[in-house]
Amino acid sequence: MKKKILCLAAVAAVGLAAGASLTSCSKKEIFHIYAWNTEFQGYFNKYVSDEKNNDDSNAVHHLNGVEVKWTITPSDNGAYQKALDEALANNESFSEDEKVDMFLAEADYILKYVNSDATLDVKTAYGVNDFSQAYKYTVDQVTDTSGVVKGASFQCCPAGLIYRRSIAKAVLGTDDPTEVQKHVATWEKYNETADLMAAAGNKMTASFADTYRVYSNNAASPWVKDNKLEVPAFVNTWMDQAKDQLDKGETTTYGVWDGEKSAEFKKTGKTFCTFGPAWYYNFCMGPAMGNGTASTAPDETKDNYSPDHTWGDWAVVKGPQAYFWGGTWLLGAKGGNNTDLVGKTMNAFLKDEEILKKLVVDDGQFSNNKKVNGAVATENETQKKGNGFLGGQNDTKIWVDMADSIVVKNNTIYDQLCNEGIQTAFGKFLKGELDSKEKVLPEFYADIARSYPTLVIPSSK
């Protein structure tokens, strides 16, 4: 009996202690960030956090001594937007450690947050005023209808055609970017090259949707106008080209983000090219990167080494049409407490030249700072060095040449689901599930109508 009582007392004591630690926890200050993947988290940990590394050795990272908490929700089917909407709508009533301080958003849906009261003016709220070195489109994208800037981008995303040097050499006889560009300078040339690739037993791209963004980010009209869904003209052009290439065996039915596609970037892969900006190397070409970076070659001695990598066997050119793709903006959430930390993070990625130089040189990214990008491009040019992943090519110079001409136009708050939806519907047709191309649009309309019941959908019958 005595033993039992002792036991109970011990359990109660443990319970009390646990309770006590919980209450002390909830009073602790927390810098809370919402994101849809860990890309930015990596750069934040490495360059801004107190720990200044992205190793697994740190369970949590800190900024100015404040613990940083990340809530990551993948963005498929609007799941990230949903989680974010719920959090932002209730942010002011959340407890201290639940409050969202900062969140990440991308071009496809950013307007929704920029034009809402849930985000704050970065100048007055966070002391972020110096956009002199930022690319204009990155500021335009987060400027609301009354001219207030609501966020900052940590990258600039001009995008081009990334090709495999060894395949270029074997089929086109050269792997020199200037020469290869001639083979893909227009869509006609691109299609001819695709035929050459197929004749040599290769594929042009590893996904039917690889070319999608080249067309969509040059769209002449928006997806939604006056609350009416209007499919832009590029969709047909893209579908015809993709279907033709699939029929000729020049591409596959894999989706843009599928693991099947990135497996094609391995040594055994037979794919000539893909499309993307600087973030694409790290983020989508993992199997090609091995465990290397822009400045270091893959390291055999490390556990995550794979001999299948194609590090150094790639290069980038402008391709048939200049475009930009993606970009991650940092926005401050109304109701958050740590305004100083939000400001510090935004300013670090806008103007801390030391950090940004590392981001460009070591990580192969293209920063949102003209001065830093320009300096790296010139330095690479004079010292004859560049991105190791691209066989030493000075890709920064290519991006610098393209970046100034990026213009954001025809953006709507519906873009994410429209861009995803049309690719899925068309993919179903390519996989034989829809028996004619005419059914692609109705399939897409049905999908959008479920998501946005208030939109006027064209009648398809």
Binding site: K112, Y113, A118, T253, P442, Y445, A446, R450, T454, I457
Partner: protein, 328 residues
Amino acid sequence: MQSTQINIENSSNIEGLNEVENKPKKKLSYTKWGYIFIASFFVIYLIFTLVPQLLTIYDSFFDYDPFSGILVTDAHPEFCGFLNYQRLFQENALGVIEIYQTIGNTLIMWIIGAIPQMVIALILALIFTSTRLKLKGTGFFKTAFYMPNLIMASAFSALFLMLFSQIGPIYTLFKDMGWIPEHFDFVVNKTSARLMVAFLNFIMWFGNTTILLMAGIQSIDESIFESARIDGASTRRVLFDMTLPLLKPIVVYVLITSMIGGLQMFDVPQVLTNKAKNSGTRTIIMLLNDYLNMKNYGRAGAISVILFIITAVLSIFVFKTINKKEDR
């Protein structure tokens, strides 16, 4: 009874409290404790089940904006009468009424999973409980059959997704054997996706059904079987004229629970085919989830109400049929 009375009288006499004598006879009742103990269930049911259920019905009469909370902060959802219900029965751009399509999908996948599940579970239960066979190691088999149920449905589906993906081993095998056309995708094709969902549900639940049926068979009085055997009844006769009729209540119970579970089928098809937006495996709960995802609580509420009505009708129907037969 008498002795208690005496005791009370005695005690009151001893303490000299005269008022006690005027009080009515004390009767011992434990009913209140019974109510207190079951109250916890009702309180929890009321707060966490009944109130949300009523709110769902209430919500189904309001028109929600997909941008509410962010772009539309001050607007309250508008009352719209039966508009949400009406719109559920409208054709989409493909000329399909999605609610019928999803209910149809749910039923088809439930039936192709549940029928083999019942048949195989019944056979296994009969084998394991057979006093003639006296199988050894039934404990091991029972555990092995039940195992799949312990794995999370989503994890199981994710595993299948990998096995059948375009670089997965099964896809590669099928392709090399020439069994599937070019560009085929298991999760995009209607038939293959439905079969996969049904198969997963079957694998996950047949062990559970086997155990329930075994319990049912074992609860039948063994002496009835013995006397039948002494009277010279064949195994076949014992099975069809004794075991199965006596097992009916359990079979019906298994059927109802399986059907209600089947109507709410969600996790397996969601993980397996939602990314592919396969309209042949979209179940009614997946449709509901699509609306919830876009904060369309009105439309989602309307689906919940319809599903509630369907479940209620089916349950009443099945209950009525068993009771009738048992009365005879």
